[in-house]
Amino acid sequence: MSERIEIRLAGTGGQGMILAGIVLADAAIRDGKQVVQTQSYGPEARGGASRAEIIIADGPIHYPKVLDADILLCMSQVACDRYGMMMRRGGLLIVDNNQVSRTPTAYAVQAPITQLAREKTGREITANVVALGVLVGLTGVVSRSSLEAAVRARAPKGTKDMNLEALAAGFEAAQELMQE
């Protein structure tokens, strides 16, 4: 069993967590990695919690779900309350501090993701891509070029540029965070 990196992106319906998961998985493939992406949503209903999981590895991935997240992104307080503790010891917790006020550990990385989205692209809906930029900028789980390519390939028609800007904003924020 090769080393696996387990990533969980958690938020509420409409925040685009699943699309973010797909983009990240796509980027991993472009890097030549093995990847499995899964998701969950409430029972055949609208809204509610939404969650994407991505496992990245060099060799075959059997169990497809996160066991203990290496990286956890929380885009809502509910998500943070629910998943905040379900992490590998020493894992990385990233929260959107526009949405999340309480974190279970002091080691959480706080980034104003929604705010950045609004400021840099004018549309909160790009927060998911900003978050990807932060996450990858901090961890390097995939290469930036692959991630950009994935965003380009998967962004809905007519939103490519906006999303690339969002991504850049995320990377920038990660840069700043690392300097802190």
Binding site: M1, I22, A25, D26, A28, I29, G32, Q34, V35, V36, Q37, T38, Q39, S40, Y41, G42, P43, E44, I61, H62, Y63, P64, K65, L67
Partner: protein
């Protein structure tokens, strides 16, 4: 390299198209809807037909009607719809109409939890219809297998003139993996068997040596009768006991003759093992993970992944079980295929690992069983 990120449901649809599927009738249901959606988009691009029927009963009926018209036909559904299809699946079995039914399993019973995975329809896939008939049931455990086994499903359905059921589950159906599909898909194209005899001699249910008389599509000059009643070799209703018996014998024998081809599975490290894990579908992934963990701890654990669930691979299990002390059968249900494993391998050897609450079995749970703890 041309690896693309693809969902299991999508791979199932693409597998069908690669196999030559040119007809899909269905009714939306979570988590199988994506198969229909991909089909609605893709089939017309190659002159195929997608139709959303008024319900699952009609969907299954339309699939059979299209197959009789010569189409490579399929439908996709989940538990509630699968239950509704049973009567017409039985018809397809009786009239020996090739067709493929994908059931992307979700947590039951009843409406259950529509967005959660389960493996609760394994016995239903075998026994959901009234009366006795054989059936072929395949179960993928990855996106790539969803593609491959769908191709196989079409192959088997046409070659053996039988409905074939694909059992996916919510995870396999919605999961994305990077897959590299065969570049040349033409070799995967499944053709209907032909006949050499002229219309006057053609018997659509003839007792041939292969036990599989070809099914000539309606409209090609071979006018004959199809019925869900017991029938003679020409297809006409019969109440002669010997003709009823002949039908039964033939349809069981055609599958029996084909076992070596139809029984798909993967073995791993069975020879040296004292413990065997037998698994399928999504649970096979947890199981494989657990097996790796156990081996890392020095355990001699063999692994058998079943891709064909029905006909049940009796001999495979029997042989594997011979030198083995303990067989672990993890399932996302309350013990279904385990019943067959127990029957074949002996109850005492078998240890079931079950979970039917909508969560994937964790490798730890299987590992505990391997290690003899609970």
């Amino acid at each position: 390299m041309n690896r693309v990120l693809m969902q299991g449901d999508e791979a199932c649809a693409e597998g069908a198209i690669a196999a030559g599927c040119n007809f899909f009738a269905g009714y939306p249901i979570t988590p199988a809807t994506e198969i229909a959606e991909v089909m609605a988009h893709r089939l017309p691009q190659q002159d195929g037909v997608f139709i959303q029927m008024e319900d699952e009963i009609a969907s299954m009926a339309a699939v059979i009607g299209a197959a009789v018209g010569g189409a490579r036909a399929m439908t996709a559904t989940s538990g509630p719809g699968f239950s509704l299809m049973q009567e017409n699946i039985g018809y397809a079995a009786m009239a020996e109409i090739p067709c493929v039914i994908a059931n992307v399993q979700r947590l039951g019973p009843s409406t259950g939890r529509p967005t959660s995975p389960a493996q609760g329809d394994v016995m239903q896939a075998r026994w959901g219809t009234h009366g006795d008939h054989p059936i072929i049931v395949l179960c993928p455990s990855s996106v790539r297998e969803s593609f491959d086994l769908t191709v196989k499903a079409f192959e088997f359905s046409e070659r053996y003139r039988t409905p074939v059921i694909l059992l996916l589950d919510e995870i396999i159906g919605h999961m994305r993996e990077g897959v590299e599909l065969p570049a040349d898909k033409t070799t995967l194209n499944v053709k209907r068997e032909q006949t050499l005899v002229p219309p006057e001699w053609y018997k659509p249910f003839e007792n041939l040596a292969t036990d599989v008389p070809p099914l000539i599509p309606f409209g090609e000059g071979y006018r004959y009768h199809i019925t869900g009643l017991h029938h003679d070799e020409r297809g006409y209703p019969t109440d002669k006991v010997d003709e009823v018996e002949a039908w039964t014998a033939r349809v069981y024998s055609k599958i029996k003759q084909a076992l070596s081809e139809v029984l798909l599975y993967e073995e791993n490290g069975i020879k040296q093992a004292d413990t065997l894990v037998v698994a399928y579908g999504i649970s096979a992934r947890s199981a494989r993970h657990a097996v790796e963990m156990a081996r890392n701890r020095g355990r001699r654990v063999g692994f058998l992944k079943l891709q064909t669930l029905w006909p049940f691979p009796e001999e495979v299990i029997e042989q594997a079980a011979e030198r083995i002390h303990r067989i672990i059968v993890p399932e996302m249900n309350l013990g279904q295929l385990a019943l067959e494993v127990e029957r074949v391998a002996g109850r005492r050897k078998v240890r079931r690992v079950n979970r039917a609450d909508g969560e994937v079995i964790k490798p730890e749970q299987i590992l505990s069983a391997i290690e003899g703890m609970r």
